[in-house]
Amino acid sequence: MSAQFTDLLIGPFETFGFMRVALVACFALALANGPIGTLLLMRRESLDANVLSHAVMPGAAIGFLYAGYSLTALTLGGLLTGLVVAGLAALMARSRPELQDASLIAFYLVSLSFGVMIVAARGSQADLMHVLFGTVLAVDVKALLLIASISSITMLAIAALYRPLAIESFDPAFLRAVGGGGRAFRAIFIALVMLNLVASFQAFGTLLAIGPMLLPAAAARCWTRKVWPTITLATFIGMAAAVLGLLISYYAKLPSGPAIVMGAGVIYGISLVAAGRTRVKPQGLR
């Protein structure tokens, strides 16, 4: 690797503190998003997670309305409406299971429009863009600490509860029958997803927060079906996408959040094409 090329890769991070903070924030997010995204795909709950990511919006917008760009207000507000919507969605799923998809879409649309209206009522176009797409480069040390704490809590919780979390998605009736806690683990998992969406919100905004969570895991799943390899690979893909996206946004003067999600999307596309050819065909009847 020539010195010039190394300089292209490392230079921006050496020169600018905000690039370094953004990179570390993305790495911290990738560490938690690896296992969370993999579990989401295993549990086939990516649509639910997408709805939750938009449910953060109204609360964050209300926080913004009252306190401006205050990390605490945005985070608490987002968490609050997120949990409210998660609870409402669970209620809907139980009372009208046949409408589950439709009500999830309804929650997603209503949260988004409500949030946009609140921000537009007081803020500018720039504020709206900030809430919708985030600003990775505006992540400060306080926000970084929040992201790192949430990421640590997530990894510890998943390490401790991995067994019931996984089995709950595979065979919930079995888990209940053997006394493994059943539905409680779904709630715990949703809460973890919520926490991570709020952590991502600052950097990627309400529209893209789900991207760094799902895309690396989806890409990793193209290469392997085993769980721990998927988690590890997803984490590294998330980190690679962060480096790629930040550099592209730096040199091409493009918004950084979308660039990172785009990077993850490109890796997913490559994985789909490249891994599809080499994957072993399952044998057996199905």
């Binding site: 295993m42 086939r44 390490a159 401790a160 509860l161 991995y162 067994r163 019931p164 996984a166 089995i167 998605s169 595979f170 065979d171 009736a173 079995f174 209940r176 029958a177 053997v178 006394g179 493994g180 806690g181 409680a184 683990f185 079906r225 085993k226 769980v227 721990w228 998927t230 399952p282 044998q283 057996g284 009847l285 199905r286």
Partner: protein, 309 residues
Amino acid sequence: MANFFNRVRRLQSLSDVVSAARTAAAPLGGWLAFSFLAVARSAQAAFSRHFDSGYDPSPSSGRLGGAREGIVVRNLSVRYGERYAFENLTGEFAAASLTAVIGPNGAGKSSLLKVLAGVIRPTSGEVICSALPLHRLAYLPQQDELDREFPITVAELVALGAWRNFGSVRKVPPGLAASVHEAVAAVGLLTVIDRPIAELSVGQFQRALFARLLLQDADVILLDEPFASLDENTTEDLLQFLRRWRQEGRAVVAVLHDLDRVRQYFPSTLLLARVPIAWGDTSISLAGDNLARARKTVGPADGRIGRAA
């Protein structure tokens, strides 16, 4: 497979965390250490109560010499909205019994099993079952209710049967690998023990689920169409397990369609057509006029019942 067990073992149990925390907190002075310990202890207790009530490594009631118990139902009804799945069922699935539940499509057979297993609540009536709160009840739903793409190997799936020996968070006991191996051998799947379940045929997957039942060591075993779309060999093999479980004193209930097989293997039969038509000795329950009544009650006849009668 050894890799899997090592990995699970490496997860620290909660009690280990508490003792590690105690060591770490010792220099902070007595009060702090004490309060931290108290919090950790009550957190652990709350966790066990809500999420890990299945942890109970004592041997099964049958082996202790105590009698196993079956299930008694009284005036049991299940309704979805306006429509009754079944109603007014009273009777007993006794210990050491082998009962076939048979009836036309839509007769409420699967709903009955679900309510016995505690998956759904009865609309009215009651289920008296000591095995359920003790987690000594095993329920095998129809295969299409399970996610076959889930990344889990045969050994891992079978090991879940011994849940009460490790629960949600505890270490896997040292003897588990051996008993998993034994159960997998008993159902004849040793050649695929380390394969993911996505690669199994329908019959192999059902064999794996039966191996899990072997480890589960339940007093009551509920099977929803266990032989649907299985070949003759697999069905014959698995039927032997049902016989064996009955001899071991367990209450076995299976939803079936094949009347010949029921007559051959099942001493008791419940003929259900939204209302119970007959419940007792198979030869009496499956008499021609009972079958005719079952067909009439539900409407369009189930083809298989029509032919066999």
